[in-house]
Symmetry: C2
Subunit: 471 residues, 2 copies
């Protein structure tokens, strides 16, 4: 059985707009010039296109009715959160209806006995963090972009910094309410801790970038809030020494919550961007580590052991940040890296590969060498502890044609290198529109055909976020 | 697009047998009376059927060639590990070829820098535990049946006892090599810690009970071995008090590794079965807890807090097992519960529901009351800490007709109750052949149609383990 994609979509007409306005009211349906420019692009995907209509939804039932109508009429639909993606996942490349989920932003229930939080998709990551901490609880996934919605975050399975110790977003999603492309509503998973009840629809929806269904509710797993956390900032004479220390830390029994690496250029950019000094900028390379736990003694014994490992491996010093103020100085800089690097150039694009943890050093060296080879500025930072790198290629004053050519050459080289090192195309930003070519190259035809079959199992008319991931 | 299942399979003939013997040699292909009775059933599924041929495979390439041949000729195929399943997942209800994977049992690679273990599917859980512990490492998933193969374990996503603290099997599978129904081989995931590179095929294969592909290699995530572990055996005057204590423990910041519950009848059965005394059998109900960590002080502070919670909630005492010998006495009994209960009756079947953790007490009370209501013996034990219950219904001296009727009535009542409590059909044993009816009842048509579509996305000819899960 050969399955093929529909590409013959119905163009939105007055009748369709009337359907939407009858359902939602005039003030929640936007068309033509009333559509805000923001809805035509994401943060970095290098692709833009306006939807034919943007609708603000408030309930699962509204989403269901819109999908059923779109399915019947073969109209493309894209769901959208804060639009903070980096690979064009939420850009409506085929036009059609954009369902804006940011107003479905209620925290529905905190269940302290089962340690779960039920939320609508439009709740922001920063709101979740604050809410649960106020209740002495902890939601570990911690992507850098705190203004992302939880719906968008689950859709990319972005894991963030604490994956070293706590795992990624998927590990904290216990249940999902999902509107399928045909408008039917299903609940996958629930408050339960274990589940072997049929295929794990919940897990395949996580990370599917809005192509298989629209998440309208999520049940998240919480943990008790660790009582204490400290950060270590560890300067090294060079990046290689810094990164080569990481597998040794992983092997010790003192697992940090996060292990980030950074180089001086990026720190200087962040200082400039924030107008604030970083605690130290005299060294070439740094590891930034955090430890959390429930007693001072336990954390101390953990970080002392890791500090010793760092010093044995050539660290120049170990700065301990154990007050909120000092932690803030370090982590606010780390949180601003993307924006800070962006501010130093005219345009940039990124590569979000993930490699086995013992290959990080080799990959970062490769990107550093690529600067000379391709004569282009490249900045990188990221999650040394989980092998997920964020590498930014900067346009600076290149002409459009030069930039396109060079970016393509650099990407080709990097994804090829990542594959050589048994890495994968994306650690947490997803494939979306921008990285499809590299996913095809990595996986080959058999694997991609399977993904296409899965897409069509959910969406036989290919109306939900078409043109993404495996298409 | 309406997809339908093939049910017109080719019957194995001499030509097919010749293909298998040419590929594998005479001594690895069994037919007719040479097929061992074990291959016609699993541990408890209540269904039996002989395959037309059993083949012992040694390599991925062999599996791939057999699948490609079976696909071309529309011959049903079932993969099989140790056959320790409880719901008939590995029973070849349509006959055809059974691929016995137990001889693909090599530990391929221990990667201490990335903390991964690469294994073939036939390696047993007890072999993995021993191997990694000898290297001072830890593979947390711990299902009761240690002679299960890792391939079978991943296929049911059985989580075991340590899910409270460490999560389930899926959380420890980083990568899979899978032979698809058409014979193509794919690698999903890898040694990487994070992955947002397309739909998570790895996660949907986990728990798919051998219906979507045959696992031929797995990359498992390891942790450093905790240095110390202790167990607490806590007697309570009744089961309700015992189980109602659990949500309070979960809310404390001292998360145990495991929280099991057990009742006196089951302990007495285990004593009889093993011919060994349990440390205490004078109380009606017990919680059995373990704690692990890297320092005596940390574990002590954790278990002391939990012991206090138990005593406040009405525990009669708290027995601490901190020597290997004393832990062995308790856990060997726990490990023998299933066999011990089985030995007290003529036949039994089981219900493996999972409910939210704060509903465990209500569900167990319901099963106890059901003994009177249906006039039948019921024994239960299980994972109070993760809400996954193992409830055994015993036939004793009922006639076949009475047993069939009563079992069906009891199951109907239990799954209905579980659904009322927001539970699901299976926490870790799967759906297989035996529990399909209850899965259909729980999920309804839309959800089941989606699962069927996913099955056909992987297996358009429906030749791999047909008749299971969603069919």
């Amino acid at each position: 059985m050969e399955l093929t994609y529909t590409k013959q979509y119905k163009k939105l007409d007055d009748k369709d707009i009337k359907f939407l306005k009858d359902l939602l009211g005039e003030d929640r349906v936007f068309t033509g010039k009333d559509i805000n420019d923001d809805f035509s692009h994401d943060e970095l995907g290098g692709v833009s296109k306006y939807p034919d209509a943007v609708v603000n939804v408030l309930t699962t039932e509204e989403v269901s009715k819109i999908m059923a109508y779109a399915y019947e009429n073969t109209i493309p639909v894209v769901g959208r959160g804060s639009g903070t993606g980096l690979v064009g996942s939420s850009v409506p490349v085929e036009g059609g209806i954009m369902i804006n989920l940011t107003q479905m932003n209620k925290i529905v229930e905190l269940d302290e006995e089962n340690l779960t939080l039920t939320v609508e998709p439009g709740v922001l990551l920063m709101e979740i963090a604050k809410f649960v901490e106020d209740h002495d609880l902890f939601y570990p996934p911690d992507p850098g972009e705190k203004s992302a919605t939880i719906g968008g975050n689950i859709s990319t399975n972005a894991g963030g910094m604490r994956a070293v110790k706590y795992g990624v977003t998927r590990d904290y999603v216990r249940g999902l309410e999902v509107v399928l492309p045909n408008g039917k509503v299903i609940e996958a998973g629930g408050k339960v801790v274990k589940n072997s009840s049929g295929y794990s629809i919940k897990d395949i929806i996580c990370g599917s970038e809005g192509t298989l269904g629209i998440i309208t509710k999520a049940i998240l797993k919480l943990l008790p809030l660790p009582k204490k956390a400290i950060s270590l900032l560890v300067p090294f004479p060079n990046l290689e020494k810094a990164i080569n220390t990481v597998p040794k830390i992983i092997k010790s029994k003192s697992i940090p919550t996060a292990i980030e690496f950074m180089q001086r250029e990026v720190i200087l950019a962040a200082e400039e961007f924030l107008g604030k000094k970083f605690p130290d900028n005299s060294s070439d390379a740094y590891l930034l580590l955090t430890f959390d736990g429930n007693s001072k003694e336990q954390i101390e014994s953990d970080y002392e052991k890791v500090a010793d490992i760092c010093l044995e491996e050539g660290a120049l010093d170990v700065y301990i940040s154990d007050t909120d103020e000092r932690k803030e100085a370090v982590w606010s800089a780390r949180g601003a890296f993307l924006e800070a690097v962006k501010a130093t150039t005219t345009e940039m694009d990124e590569c979000d590969v993930v490699v086995p943890r013992n290959k990080v050093a080799e990959f970062v060296k490769f990107t550093n060498d690529a600067q000379k080879q391709f004569n282009i500025r490249i900045r990188s930072f990221g999650h040394a502890g989980d092998g997920n790198l964020h590498v930014y290629i900067l346009r600076d004053d290149l002409s459009k044609a030069e930039w396109d050519k060079k970016l393509s050459d650099v990407f080709d080289a990097m994804y090829k290198k990542s594959q050589e090192l048994d890495g994968l195309v994306s650690g947490e930003h997803g494939i979306g529109y921008a990285k499809r070519k590299y996913l095809f190259r990595q996986y080959g035809n058999d694997y991609m055909q399977l993904m296409k079959n899965i897409k069509l199992a959910f969406d036989p008319k290919n109306i939900l976020n078409p043109g993404k991931v495996c298409e």
